[in-house]
Amino acid sequence: MRVLLAFLLLPVTLGSAVGQSATDIVRRSDETMRGKTSESELIIRTTRPTWSREMSVRTWMSGNQYAMILILTPAKDKGTVFLKRKKEVWNWLPTLERSIKLPPSMMTQSWMGTDFTNDDLVKESSIVEDYDHRLLGDTTVAGRLSYVIEMVPKPEAAVVWGKIIVCIDKKDYLQLHSRFYDDEGVEVNVMNAYDIKMMDGRLIPTRLEMIPSDKKNQKTEIIYTRIQFNRPIPDNFFTMDRMRNLK
């Protein structure tokens, strides 16, 4: 879950810009991929030197406040649901037919062995609002001319990273490459975006990979198989009654 939200908080945008500030670039990049709402299906693939596992999920998101995630595969986890409403998170276990409220501390830890952190989920942090942005220069990523932007969290922001360097492509505002640093300035993770495709009328990278910097032979990938933006989802979709009956 933290994986998904971390991703939804980080990606892409359309739009053209001349003389815009680093913050404007990040805002444009942030807006498109997240949309006001999104509904998607995606595969999470965790790779380690000797094994790999896949999980497929369906997600519903509304802003930073509401999210529902339904696990479709593997068989033993099918039907498990995570519901996030503002600061609260519940987990529906179909086998037991009961929901379990998760401690807030659960949200700041790794989710199901993947290489992502989940601070964004509960902290509701935003790469636009919670960071100061500075344009460092230009580069080329996968043949696309890109801005290089440094993002440092504002003093009061409750975020997990000490710094993020992000490369945002100048034409389509896609976040193609990001480096995440801890409070000591040590690089923790590298994220790359691939397989840029049209989905629901928007050009987005459909495969994102996160690689821990100290374990280069392992990674977690998120592959979008379907995504829809800005279809209205009423806030009362994100309830425990819906969670129990989600299919």
Binding site: T46, R48, K76, S105
Partner: protein
Amino acid sequence: MGRGRIIVFVVFLMTLGVSGAQTPDSAQTIPTWEVRGYLKDMQSLTYGQNPDSLVTGNMLHNRLNFRFNPSARFSAAAEFRTRLFWGQEVQLTPNFPEALRNRNEAVNLQWVWFETASAVMHTTVDRLWLEYRGQRWETRLGRQRINWGIATLWNPNDIFNTYNFLDFDYEERPGRDAAKVIFHLSDFSNLEVAGAAAEADYKSVASVRYTTNRWNYDFQFMAGVYQQVATAGFGWSGSIGEAGFKGEAQYFAAHSDTAALVNLAVEADYMFSKGWYVNAGFLLNSAGYSDPIDNWGLYNFQLSPRSLMPTKYNTVLTVGKEITPLLSANLTLIYSPGTNLVIALPSLRYNLGTNIDVDVFWQGFYAEQQKKIEPVVYRGFIRFKWSF
């Protein structure tokens, strides 16, 4: 319902539906049906202070869950739990099939396929229900689980179908023959009315529950009748800082030959970095024993909603650790001061393949006997599980 009728019901389910395609919630193909389940193989051993008392057990365990959605508003479920036991455990347990029976059921939906001196094959239908979901209310009729518990290990509010926390192999937990109606008062508050029948009328249970969410806490309040005894309870689930904080309390009034009693469970949990998880809790059973007891029948607690532990004060500490994404370890320690009862429950889980898990469980029971805390019984299990 006899076996024949169950089979007819299942065949009916299987012939009616279109295959269970996954579609968005908003545009679901109707009707749908689905079959899921698992196959488990479990080997067990049990021994007391004297290792010569070792008893081994073997079990093959199949679960089939059928779900049928004839329309967006109706659902039906039938779930079959079939187990084949063989070996010493069967040989040494008199009338083995009798011990498999869920005593809370009103209708006998179990059968023994065969029984020999050393093997028993047994099936029980532990879910068999029909559900209707309207805009403002929903109802479920038939054998179902009415899960009103909130806490992890001990659930005082779970007055319909208490489960034995030592029976780790029964993840789904037993059901009841019941009717339940939920009225949606608002997006986050419901009024629920449930009644469960039993073989004898005086053992039936009925209760009302109100659930709501305030100040980032879930709350529930309930009142009803448990086996002719008036009962009321409440529960909550929220957080203090970054830690989860949950609890349940249930009061049973005095009745002709029983005194009033209270069960109270409170727990806090926290997820640390690097995959460490800690959960600490306690249970008060005001009618429980508070002095050492000789001669425990330990691993066969007669648990009921009135008595979730035989002892008055009980504490529990669980520590979990995800060693790798595939391997996790868990240790639960229960200590009941007064009786000086200790239960240690370590376990390991390894994911061998996408749908195959192997688990190792250990259960050690210790209690004060003749002024010394001594081991009473040990149980060990290894289990392979294939989910489909």
